[in-house]
């Protein structure tokens, strides 16, 4: 009984897998698993320029299909991932990368969060120090609360 108990589960999982395949926009098959992985990674990190919050891999737009074909052909021709990125950036600009490169133009984009965090930590430290100093000067401030 136990032996057959897992069968429906396996079947359900297989069906789920098939359903996922059927949903996929991009059914490109690369000749090796290594190329397939690189192709998949690249098409997920390149933006579809027509539907700007989707990646090339997710988009059904004609241009996205053209650009996916371009990625596929470049990989099949033995180009590196950086070659593909450089090809796209030369034509469409940094905006096509979901993860922009660090360059003078994008420096603020990368540095601003850290800078803001530092400012926040600075303000926090100052407030804490001030309050500690106040506590030190007056060990029992509650008693002297001027409010009635």
């Amino acid at each position: 009984m136990r032996r057959f108990g897992t069968l429906p589960l396996v079947g359900a999982l297989a069906a789920l897998g098939l359903a996922r395949l059927a949903c996929a926009v991009d059914t490109t098959q690369m000749p090796t698993p290594e190329l397939q992985a690189r192709y998949s990674a690249l098409t997920h990190e390149l933006r579809c320029m027509q539907c700007q919050n989707q990646s090339l891999a997710d988009s059904q737009v004609g241009l996205a299909a053209d650009l996916r074909a371009e990625v596929r052909d470049m990989l099949l021709a033995g180009k590196s991932d950086d070659d593909v990125r450089a090809f796209m950036v030369a034509r469409y600009g940094d905006f096509i990368l979901f993860r922009p490169r660090f360059a003078p133009r994008t420096a603020w984009l990368w540095l601003a969060p850290g800078l803001l965090l530092l400012i926040g930590v600075g303000v926090f430290a100052r407030v804490v120090r001030k309050r500690t100093a106040l506590l030190g000067a007056d060990p029992d401030p509650v008693d002297e609360d001027p409010r009635p």
Binding site: L63, D66, E70, V89, A90, R91, Y92, G93, D94
Partner: protein
């Protein structure tokens, strides 16, 4: 007073930064072309109205031209067509069309019905030339200088305003300096 000073100053600074950002983005939401100031991509494609001949970018060297990407499937292209015809009539800059992923027969009848503003129309079935130009939605128009550099790019329909504000001054400034 003092405890409000820092937040108020910080807020004022933020307002200034955002105001500058809004002011400096006249073409809101459009992405600057990576090709600006760079050589226009080369192409050699069949001529729509004369398939035996090839439209070559190398034949266009040495003069200004507007490279206009369109297709009969493109709604906005119909909207700009009248302006394109007027640009042709003005005779300042020739229009070179790129018929992007289109049906040749439909494209030819479009030009017969609406009028043909182009000096030549290159046919890009595969979309490869459009990719080289960084095109992501028709209509797009590029202004190319006699040196073969892309000096201006417009995403969206060409209007009188854009023509007068962006294209005409660039062309006349350059030709005045040349003579």
């Amino acid at each position: 007073m003092n405890r409000f000073l820092v937040p108020i100053v910080a807020f004022a600074l933020l307002v200034v930064v955002l105001a500058i950002g809004i002011r400096h983005a006249p073409e809101k939401g459009t992405i600057p072309s990576a090709l600006l100031g760079k050589p226009a991509p080369g192409f050699a494609l069949p001529n729509l109205t004369d398939p035996a001949h090839t439209v070559r970018s190398s034949d266009l060297k040495g003069r200004w031209y507007l490279f206009n990407v369109w297709g009969t499937w493109c709604f906005e292209c119909r909207a700009e067509h009248q302006t394109l015809l007027e640009v042709r009539q003005a005779g300042v800059v020739p229009l070179i069309g790129l018929d992007w992923k289109d049906d040749d027969t439909e494209a030819r009848s479009w030009l017969e019905q609406l009028g043909n503003p182009y000096e030549a129309v290159a046919v890009d079935h595969g979309g490869r030339t459009a990719i080289d130009w960084g095109v992501y939605g028709a209509p797009e128009t590029f202004l190319v200088s006699p040196q073969g550099l892309v000096v201006y790019k417009l995403v969206g329909p060409l209007t009188h305003e854009v023509w007068a504000r962006e294209i005409l001054p660039r062309v006349s400034r350059q030709s005045a300096a040349g003579t």
